[in-house]
């Protein structure tokens, strides 16, 4: 009703517009302005969305079945992830469309081949890590322990461990809750031991025998989660900037989907 009051004026008959032609012209200008504005918003939005699409999804394929601690047979999937201290001719840097990231993240550690992971629901998943990076003291000893695997252990260079020394951590693989109460709570954190400084390296500068870690965990119902590294391996304040806050380097998504 208020709007109607405002509208009473400036009608084509009123003193505010000369004649129909002006009126139509005005309408066209208005129409074009709205159209143009909408086009700009859509354009910028699409451009940016394309600029930053997530890295290609790495899917854990089901490779037969495995016996869960409960004794039941469950589908078993496997995933292979490597952690490199920096890119090289052998391991290309994760691709980013933003030019500044190529500058700022050059020579920073990253997970390879991808950080967008997808695993089947209600099954056992084994992730095999090869860790090529050095390391040191982690902020929170909680993340030098293994959390959320089937028996609370991980296999490190062949032998089962439940934790490693807090000052010998290379990276961690920490999956945590996505803010949705409708999906099962899921928390998993795996410390990846560091390589000693005197480790023998190949010509690329990577250790010849990296730290091999493999963990098996049980997935529940479908859901989306995120993961990131909890070891300060980035730059800037507390070394938690740069790659730590860039998906494709040290953080990513972790989707549990129905097979």
């Amino acid at each position: 009703m208020v709007a109607a009051v405002g509208l009473k004026f400036g009608s084509c008959k009123g003193a505010f517009v000369g004649n129909e032609r002006v009126c139509v012209k005005k309408f066209l200008v208005t129409f074009l302005t709205v159209l143009l504005g909408g086009a700009i918003v859509a354009g910028v939005g699409v451009f940016n969305a394309v600029q930053q699409e997530a890295p290609p999804v790495l899917i854990a394929n089901v490779v037969g079945t495995k016996t869960a601690p409960s004794g039941e047979e469950m589908p078993h999937a496997e995933l292979y992830l490597d952690v490199y201290p920096n890119s090289s001719a052998q391991v290309p840097q994760p691709e980013t469309k933003s030019p500044i990231n190529n500058v700022l993240l050059a020579g920073q550690p990253f997970y390879h081949p991808s950080t967008s992971l997808q695993v089947p629901s209600n099954s056992l998943v084994t992730i095999h890590f090869r860790q090529y990076d050095s390391g040191g003291q982690i902020y929170n000893p909680y993340f030098s322990k293994v959390h959320g695997t089937v028996d609370g252990t991980m296999k490190w260079n062949g032998n089962k461990v439940t934790e490693i020394k807090p000052d010998e951590v290379g990276h961690t693989f920490t999956v945590h809750q996505y803010p949705e109460s409708t999906q099962p709570y899921f928390f998993m954190s795996i410390p990846l031991p560091m390589n000693k400084a005197n480790a023998k390296t190949d010509k690329m500068g990577y250790p010849v025998d990296p730290q091999i870690v493999s963990v098996t965990f049980m997935t529940g119902e479908a859901g989306s989660y995120v993961w990131n590294c909890e070891f300060p391996c980035g730059d800037l304040y507390q070394e938690f900037g740069g790659p730590m806050q860039t998906r494709g380097w040290m953080a990513g998504t972790f989707d549990v989907v129905d097979a």
Binding site: V2, N140, Y142, Y185, N228, E230, F240, Q245
Partner: protein, 285 residues
Amino acid sequence: MSADTLIPEEPEAPTNRPPSMQRVRLWLQRPYARKVLILTVLIGFLLLPLAWLLLAGMNQTGAPASEIMKDIEQTVFVFTLVSIPITAFVFAVLVYSLIGWRQISGDEPPMQDSPAIRTNTIGVILWTVSSTLLAMFLVVWGLVELAQITANSYGTISADEQPGQKSSEIINVTGQQWVWTFEYPEHNGLTSDILYLPLDRPVYFNVTSKDVIHNFWAVELGVKIDANPGAITQTGVTANKLGTFNVRCAELCGMHHAYMQTQIQVLEQDAFDSWVRESGGKKTS
């Protein structure tokens, strides 16, 4: 509207009542005055349900789960109630000036002016007094509630005094990008990524951060305090409702800020103890 042009009926034989009262009484006889007041009452009643709707929104996920949250909701409820009349009056004037008092359209400035009311002593005094009283009420209420909440959340008890009463539980809350960890120093440093609380027992939180500022928000418990790097902040709560509630980070803390949240499990005492026994036995290095 021709209502305003009506001359009010003659006042009855003047008495010794002070003229100001007389004026108020006459004023109340003016048609627009009555209509504005009626409109105020109407709008007031239209707004009234808000007082409950607000609480309905806040209680969606099981709040209140503590005395503190009860106090908070009480405050919101009362503030809504006391602010409805003044809001209703302002809206009533807006509406009535659109439909009641005359409107002029057209391109030229109106020929005829409105009554030149430069001020109205009684009205101004009424408004000032009432708004001041209202503000004072809000202040007093707020101060009292704040004192009460501070008491309920043990915010005044410093870190070294805390391990006093046996009935209490101390939890060291650590925020870091982008996970919460909860350490139970009284159970040889048992640490968890889910916040387990015993029912009906006071819990002290020491909160700090390992990197940037986070905000520890136990939504349904009404607990909120910043986790500051380089400083330890204290608060506390007594959960009085079983269930699963939310911890959310309420201070932007970087890329995964939106994902920095976890569960609160409020357990019966024995369930809590058994959880401690199962997961807390060995000392954390």
